[in-house]
Amino acid sequence: MATVECTECGAEIEAADNVINGEILPCPSCGAEMEVTSTKPLKVELAPEVREDWGE
């Protein structure tokens, strides 16, 4: 289990061992959505906001 800092509030976010790039980790403290940009080492960025053409 790796951890990484939320870019918005600095809280610790945990990621499962099988985490992959592009996955979204919600910050347990501020609720911001973090997108995994690297797994080794674990890095995250604020995920892009929902766009109008997003969906199923």
């Binding site: 099988n18 992959i20 790039n21 592009g22 996955e23 979204i24 997108e35 995994v36 995920a47 892009p48 766009r51 109008e52 053409d53 997003w54 969906g55 199923e56």
Partner: protein, 313 residues
């Protein structure tokens, strides 16, 4: 067998599909569409994949990628044809009508003025401006129940149309106007079709008229009756086939109509209630397409050979 999955955000669904492929020992390359540049004169890179599973969260990115891959003969699940139809509520309705699949009444207008008159006519506007029956105004492209408007009178219609005119993108200059369907027991039905089979069905209930689970609707399993299977498979076929989620509305009188069809289906909330291993069914289908056991149709006139663009600079 080599598989690629195109994505722009790894939702639970993409992760489940990836893990299912891993479990079967199938090599799957995860490709972030935001980092891809397609060289339209040299598509050799894409020839290595037996099948591309398209799971982009953005319809415009998905449609562009599929259009390109389709023309160069790269097999995709779903196909460009399915994305082109299902990504637009207008195209979906047209195909449902063409194939005789029951669906709610729809009218299309292209100016706010025409939309206002259309809504008055469909709603049965009374002298005081109130409608006899509500109408629903939807963006032609969109999902998760966003920006849908249930309109009960002319005042509301005018306000919404003005807002769209002022604030909306060009997509909002096509007005997709649908009859409001009074749902039996306040619920609607979603079925999951994979190939020729309806693999699972759920009902969605909510206090709100929009029952999407993405908006908090509650999912419960529903038995796939022969009637539900027939209409679901017919809707899927009409809309390009493949792996599709069909949204159905059941009228007061029991008639079932197809509201719309989704080509990048979300199913995480439907596995537990139905007990159906949806990712496994999707992977079965994709591998069937990859191995050539399941035939898919292309939209574009195919260029000769799988990646015929190669070297043609």
């Amino acid at each position: 067998m080599k598989v690629a999955m195109l994505y722009a955000r790894v939702r639970v669904e993409e992760k489940l599909l990836f893990e299912e492929l891993q479990r079967r020992g199938v090599e799957c390359e995860m490709i972030d569409v935001r980092e891809v540049s397609f060289d339209l004169h040299d598509m050799t890179r894409w020839a290595q994949y037996d099948v591309v599973i398209e799971r982009c969260i953005s319809h415009s990115q998905a449609e562009a990628a599929l259009s390109i891959l389709d023309m160069f003969g790269v097999k995709c699940v779903n196909t460009y044809r399915a994305a082109h139809i299902c990504g637009s509520k207008l195209n979906t309705t047209l195909e449902l009508i063409r194939h005789g699949v029951p669906s709610p009444n729809v009218r299309i207008a292209s100016t706010p003025e025409a939309a206002l008159e259309t809504m008055a006519a469909m709603g049965g506007q009374r002298p005081d401006g109130r409608y006899e029956r509500p109408v629903v105004l939807k963006p032609a492209v969109g999902s998760w129940g966003r920006l849908l408007a249930k309109v009960n009178d002319r005042d509301a219609a005018e306000a919404i149309l003005e807002h769209k005119d002022t604030l909306g993108s060009y997509h909002h200059s096509i007005f997709y106007i649908q009859e409001f369907v009074n749902k039996k027991a306040g619920r609607d039905i979603r079925t999951f079709v994979v190939g020729d089979e309806t693999i699972a069905a759920i009902s969605r209930t909510s206090e709100h008229w929009i029952t999407n689970t993405a908006r908090g609707g509650k999912a419960e399993a529903v038995r796939v009756t022969p009637e539900l299977d027939r209409i679901s498979v017919a809707a899927a076929k009409a809309c390009g086939g493949g792996v599709l989620a069909i949204d159905l509305l059941e009228r007061d009188d029991g008639e079932i109509v197809v509201n719309e069809v989704n080509y990048t289906m979300e199913f995480k909330n439907s596995i537990a209630p139905t007990g159906v291993d949806i990712p496994a069914k999707v992977v079965d289908y994709a591998l069937g397409v990859g191995s050539g056991q399941i035939a898919i149709s292309t939209y574009h006139m195919p260029v000769s050979g799988p990646v015929a663009g190669a070297g043609a600079r």
